[in-house]
């Protein structure tokens, strides 16, 4: 078992024939993901990486039966692409593109919700169910199959966390990179209950960042609904106030959203909070032994 995606998930790629789309679609297919086609306007009818190219998502969905779309279109077209996927009946859009305007994401997410489509990202590494299906840009080789679920705002910390879990002799069920932009799709509070319900997941690693209050909301939910052990790290304890650290979400404004506040809230909810990402593996080992 796993959450959201597995070896049978059919995936199309929006922005299929572009440089990034091509490179990563190929990598995903090599990992075992069922890439069943892609969309690039005006290239419909062509074949790319051995799969059909369509002009519209609607056509792609009707022909291939895909339920997930991996989005690589340039930032200015992300909003449009997400809304198109929603209307075509896609169930989950994984938005990899970095730099989509915030206003476009507000509109696109509201439209996706209206059509019952889940979104992940933007500006995220994607989602991977170990040794079954990879939809995104993470290095597949570090994700060995196991019993730990992982949710992270940061891409490279996802890899760092997964790598440590594997080095400790455990493995991953599904790892989800949710991104750190001001408007994001699936977040801790949607994903934590999915891991709670997944019989194979025995422990959950949650990696957060300064800025916003998603981790505080997660702490509340964990206290009420999550019985599995949770290990958490919040990046940015040493970040100076008011400085942007790359991600739009990593901004501390006033007292809300500091690492300290989030760590305290999670600890109060019974989560094992580590002060350095170097401690994630050891904390998981401890949690799994309980």
């Amino acid at each position: 078992m796993s959450i959201l995606i597995n070896k049978d998930t059919k995936v199309i790629v929006q922005g299929f024939t572009g440089k990034e789309g091509t490179f990563h679609a190929e990598q995903c297919a090599a990992y075992g993901t069922k890439i069943v086609g892609g969309v690039t306007p005006n290239k419909g009818g062509q074949t790319h990486l051995g799969q059909p190219v369509f002009n519209t998502v609607d056509e792609a969905v009707k022909t291939t039966g895909a339920t997930v779309s991996m989005i690589f279109v340039p930032p200015a077209f992300v909003g449009d692409a997400v809304m198109e996927a929603a209307e075509a009946g896609i169930e989950l859009a994984v938005i990899i593109t970095e730099g989509a305007p915030v206003k476009d994401m507000q509109m696109a997410k509201a439209h996706a919700t209206k059509h019952g489509m889940k979104t992940l990202g933007p500006n995220c590494p994607g989602i991977i169910t170990a040794e079954e299906c990879k939809i995104g840009i993470m290095p597949g080789m570090i994700f060995k199959k196991g019993n730990v679920g992982l949710i992270s705002k940061s891409g490279t910390l996802t890899y760092e966390g997964a790598n440590q879990v594997v080095k400790e002799g455990f493995g991953i069920t599904t790892a989800v990179g949710i991104g750190g932009d001001p408007i994001i799709g699936l977040s801790y509070n949607q994903l934590l209950p999915m891991f709670e319900a997944d019989p194979e997941t025995e422990c959950i690693v949650m990696i957060g960042e300064i800025g916003g209050d998603l981790e505080i909301q997660a702490a509340k939910l964990i206290k009420e609904q999550i019985t599995k052990p949770v290990v958490a790290f919040i990046a940015g304890q040493t970040a100076p106030k008011g400085k942007t650290m790359g991600h739009a979400g990593a901004i501390v404004s006033g007292s809300a959203g500091t690492a300290k506040e989030k760590m305290q809230a999670l600890e109060a909810a019974g989560v094992t909070v580590v002060v350095s990402p170097a401690e994630i593996g050891a904390a998981v080992t401890k949690a799994m032994a309980k």
Binding site: K103, M107, S154, E160, I210, G236, A239, P240, A248, P277
Partner: protein
């Protein structure tokens, strides 16, 4: 990206949001000329820097004569202004805004920001204008009203009525004016991809008009490509020189106070690396994210920027290669040692894509000062020890 008050007010004027008449100047002579052109009888001389709290820092003065305009312009221009929103070093004032004085009856607060929880813009208003809004939120939160506006429906009449009644405005003519003010402000927020607009204070004049006495605006950097007129307002002198230089090479750099230079891929891991150094008893000298397209040139540039800081006693390179290939980083390090005098120990931890190749490259290059970190914890510990001279 932030802009100056005078620039924000230019945008306000375009959208019909009332502001006092004013002229931006860069010299004392021009300030006096501007005052003459505006006519008086009173003027406000305002420092233009990207930070709030200018008045308290002595950067805003009311002049009653042209001589006073000259005196204050002379005083403020070239001063280093320290406010609660600047660093301790403050900011050099290079521009002034000379503005007509306003007939102030009441002061309000009005802003538009993104509510991340509701995922839509939020209008925030208060009768407690001219005060630090964080203090109002802390001490008298009931005096702040919030009105979320769904961009799908835009600013409707009921939003306007919530604003007018929320601020206790009972006169019907005044209600009409504040509703129109809010409507125009929301329109310009949406159309310009603003991230934040703050007016503090928004004043009611003796004749019952509403005027934006101050204006702060910030924009979504991701949308600047389709907002060329906004992008053109960028004032690089307001930004950190090293950060701007780093950005040219796709590097995201922020200077800090410590001794260990950091070069990392990904913002999250970069912060996590700083946290780990701190946890192990060291102090990070900077945040540096090399981004997803790091190559030899960008890595060399990163070293150059880090080494400009004389406090740096060791450098920790921490890369977990996903899209970034470790062999490219290794070549970058070798390149950097050729073109820059790397005179401090460099601790390198490379993991992920092409890590074994990278390790071979570094080994065969045989660089002095280079220490291998086996994982994040090991690398950070070695960096902390090296910075202490151990």
């Amino acid at each position: 990206m932030n802009i100056h008050e005078y620039q924000a007010k230019q945008i306000f004027v375009e959208y019909g949001v009332p502001v006092p008449k004013g002229i931006m100047v860069e010299s004392v002579e021009a300030a006096v000329e501007a005052a003459k052109e505006l006519g008086g009888p009173v003027w406000v001389v305002k420092a233009q820097i990207h930070a709030g709290g200018r008045g308290l820092g002595g950067g805003v003065k009311l002049a009653k004569t042209l001589d006073e305009v000259r005196e204050f312009a002379n005083e403020i221009l070239g001063m280093t202004l320290v406010t609660h929103q600047t660093t301790a070093e403050g900011k050099l004032v290079q521009k002034l805004y000379i503005e007509d004085g306003a007939d102030i009856k009441d002061e309000f607060y009005l802003s538009v920001v993104l509510d991340r929880k509701l995922e839509m813009p939020l209008i925030m208003a208060s009768t407690e204008g001219g005060m630090n809004i964080e203090d109002v939120a802390e001490n008298t939160p009931e005096k702040i009203i919030t009105i979320p506006v769904d961009p799908a429906i835009g600013f409707q009449g009921f939003h306007g009525r919530q604003l007018a009644f929320g601020l206790g405005i009972t006169d019907k003519a005044e209600q009409k004016k504040i509703i129109s003010f809010g409507q125009k402000l929301f329109k310009l927020y949406m159309e310009n991809d603003a991230e934040m607009i703050e007016i503090n204070p928004l004043v009611r004049t003796g004749s019952g008009d509403f005027i934006a006495l101050d204006a702060k605006m910030g924009f979504d950097n991701s949308a600047l490509g389709r907002q060329p007129q906004i992008a053109a307002m960028r004032d690089l002198t307001e930004e950190d020189e090293d950060e701007v230089e780093a950005a040219k090479y796709g590097l995201s750099y922020v200077a800090l106070d410590g001794e260990i230079g950091c070069m990392v891929n990904g913002a999250g891991l970069a912060m996590g690396t700083m946290d780990t150094i701190n946890y192990m008893g060291g102090t990070p000298a900077n945040f540096l994210d090399v981004g997803g397209s790091a190559n030899a040139e960008t890595v060399a540039k990163g070293f150059e920027i880090i080494l400009k800081n004389p406090k740096v006693k060791a450098i920790f390179v921490n890369i977990f290669g996903g899209i970034v290939r470790c062999d490219r980083i290794a070549n970058g390090i070798i390149e950097a040692t050729k073109i820059t005098d790397v005179n401090v120990p460099v601790i390198v931890r490379l993991d992920g894509t092409n890590a074994p190749e990278a390790s071979e490259i570094l080994k065969s290059a045989n660089i002095a000062n280079l220490i291998v970190g086996n994982d994040l914890g090991d690398g950070a510990a070695k960096a902390v020890a090296a910075a202490k001279g151990e």
